[in-house]
C-alpha cells in the first residue's frame, strides 16, 4: 500500500511535468547559468582555479534544487491541489516519499548535464571515477532534497515563502553540502584514497538517515492544520 501511494504520487508529478516540462527546463537552464557565471568570474586566461570544480558543482546543485523545490510546491498551491492530495485517504509519509523521489529524479537529471559541463569548463577530471561520483551525488542529493521537500511543503501556506525557503534550507543542509564538496574534491585528487571517500560517504549516509527519519516523523503533524 505504502509503495503504491508513493508510486501514484510520483507518477502524477511525472505526468504533470511531462506535459509542460516547465520545471525541468527552468531548473536545468538556471543550473547551467550558475555554472557559466562561475566560469566567467573564476576562469582567467583559460586557467581554472585549483580545486574549485567540486564546490561549483555543489553550489549549482543547491541553487537549482531550491528553485525546483519552490516551483514544485507552487504548482500544487496554485490550484489548491495540495489540499486535495492531503485529503486523499493516503498515509502522509507516503505522499512525502513520492514528492521526495520526484525531486531527487529531477535533480539527478540536472546533474547529468552539470557534471560534464563543470568538467569541461573547469578542466576537472570529474568523470575519471564515475561510480564513486554517482554515489556521492546520489547520497548528497537525497540529503538535500529530504530537508528541502519537507520545508517547501510546509512553506506552501506561509507568507514570503520564496525568500524563506533558502533562508531555512541552507543552514540545515550545510553539512550535506560540505560532505558532498569534500567527497567530490577527494575524487579529483591525483592520488586516489578510498579511505577519505568512505569517510565522507558514511557521513552523507548518516545525514540521509537522520534527515529522512526526522522528515517522515514530522511530516504528518507539520502538514496538519
Amino acid at each position: 500500500m505504502f509503495a503504491r501511494i508513493v508510486w501514484l504520487v510520483l507518477r502524477k508529478d511525472f505526468t504533470v511535468e511531462v506535459r509542460s516540462l516547465e520545471i525541468a527546463y527552468t531548473t536545468v537552464f538556471f543550473a547551467i547559468s550558475c555554472v557559466l557565471v562561475f566560469a566567467f568570474a573564476l576562469v582567467q586566461e583559460g586557467r581554472a582555479p585549483e580545486g574549485g570544480a567540486a564546490g561549483i558543482l555543489w553550489v549549482a546543485i543547491a541553487f537549482a534544487g531550491t528553485l525546483a523545490l519552490g516551483r514544485t510546491f507552487e504548482r500544487e498551491r496554485q490550484s489548491d491541489t495540495l489540499r486535495a492530495l492531503l485529503l486523499a485517504p493516503a498515509a502522509r509519509p507516503a505522499i512525502y516519499v513520492g514528492k521526495l523521489l520526484g525531486i531527487v529524479a529531477l535533480l539527478l537529471a540536472a546533474e547529468l548535464l552539470l557534471v560534464p559541463l563543470v568538467a569541461f569548463l573547469f578542466q576537472a577530471p570529474l568523470l575519471v571515477r564515475p561510480g564513486w561520483l554517482a554515489t556521492v551525488l546520489l547520497t548528497g542529493t537525497i540529503g538535500f532534497a529530504a530537508v528541502g521537500t519537507l520545508f517547501a511543503a510546509m512553506l506552501v501556506r506561509a507568507r514570503s515563502r520564496d525568500v524563506l525557503l533558502p533562508v531555512l534550507l541552507y543552514p540545515i543542509t550545510v553539512p550535506v553540502i560540505i560532505a558532498g564538496v569534500r567527497g567530490t574534491a577527494a575524487l579529483l585528487q591525483p592520488e586516489f584514497d578510498p579511505g577519505i571517500i568512505h569517510f565522507w560517504l558514511a557521513l552523507l549516509v548518516c545525514f540521509d538517515v537522520v534527515f529522512v527519519t526526522l522528515a517522515l516523523w514530522t511530516f504528518e503533524p507539520l502538514m496538519t492544520d
Binding site: F151, A158, L168
Partner: protein, 218 residues
C-alpha cells in the same frame, strides 16, 4: 512576575559584579597569559548556547505533537537566547583563537557546526517574524532539525581531529582555574533563566492582548 524573579535578578547582578574580580584574581595561564581569561566567558556562554538550543528543540517537539501554545512561547524565547549567547560565543571564540592559533577562524567541525546552529536560530527568528500564519508549526520543525545538530557539535571534537580543545579538559582543571569558571557558568545560567522567563512573559502578554482584540471583534 513570580516572586523569585526580583531576588534572582539582584543575585544575578551581584554575581556579574563579583565574577570579574574572581577572574582577575585567577592565576595567569603559562602560555596564553591574559588572553586565557576569555575562556571564563567563552565556555559558559557556549554551554548556555547549547542549553538554549536544547530547550528550544524540546519545547518545539512538545508543541508539534501536543499543540500546547505555552511550549511554543518557550521555544520562541529560547531561540532568541540561542542567538544572543551564540553571538557571545562566536565573538569571544575568534578573540581567543587569534592568540592561541594565530588565526581568527578555522573551518573545523566544532566551529562550523556551532555557526550552523546559530544560523538555524536566526532563520527561526526570521521565520517567526515574517512567516505569517502557520509559521509556529514550521518553526517547530526547523528547531527540531536544529536540535539534531547539538549533539553533533558536542561530540564532534572527540571524534575528529581538530585544534579546538576537547570537552575532557574541563574536569581536569585545577581549582584555581575551576572556581572562577564554575562561578561564571552559574552566573550565565542564572542570566539565561531570568531572560527566558522575561521573554516568555512578554509572549504571554502578546497572546493575552491578541485574545482581548479577538473578543472585542466578536
Amino acid at each position: 512576575m513570580p516572586k523569585w524573579f526580583t531576588g534572582a535578578a539582584v543575585l544575578c547582578g551581584l554575581m556579574f559584579a563579583v565574577a570579574p574580580v574572581l577572574i582577575a584574581n585567577a592565576p595567569y595561564e603559562s602560555t596564553m597569559g591574559l588572553v586565557q581569561k576569555i575562556f571564563y566567558v567563552h565556555l559558559p556562554s557556549a554551554w548556555v548556547f547549547l542549553l538554549s538550543a536544547i530547550v528550544c528543540g524540546v519545547a518545539s517537539v512538545r508543541f508539534l505533537f501536543r499543540g500546547d501554545p505555552r511550549q511554543d512561547r518557550l521555544a520562541w524565547a529560547a531561540a532568541e537566547l540561542v542567538v544572543l549567547f551564540g553571538l557571545v560565543t562566536l565573538v569571544t571564540g575568534p578573540l581567543w583563537a587569534r592568540k592561541a592559533w594565530g588565526t581568527w577562524w578555522q573551518w573545523d567541525v566544532r566551529l562550523t557546526s556551532s555557526l550552523m546552529g546559530w544560523m538555524v536560530a536566526v532563520a527561526y527568528l526570521l521565520l517567526r517574524k515574517y512567516g505569517g500564519p502557520g509559521s509556529d508549526k514550521l518553526g517547530a520543525g526547523l528547531a527540531l532539525f536544529g536540535m539534531a545538530n547539538v549533539p553533533f557539535v558536542y561530540i564532534s571534537v572527540n571524534y575528529w581531529r581538530t585544534i579546538h580543545p576537547a570537552t575532557s579538559v574541563v574536569p581536569t582543571l585545577p581549582s584555581s582555574f575551576g572556581v572562577p569558571l564554575w562561578f561564571s557558568a552559574v552566573t550565565f545560567l542564572l542570566l539565561f533563566v531570568l531572560l527566558l522567563r522575561l521573554r516568555v512573559r512578554l509572549q504571554e502578554q502578546h497572546a493575552a492582548l491578541d485574545a482581548l482584540y479577538l473578543s472585542m471583534d466578536a
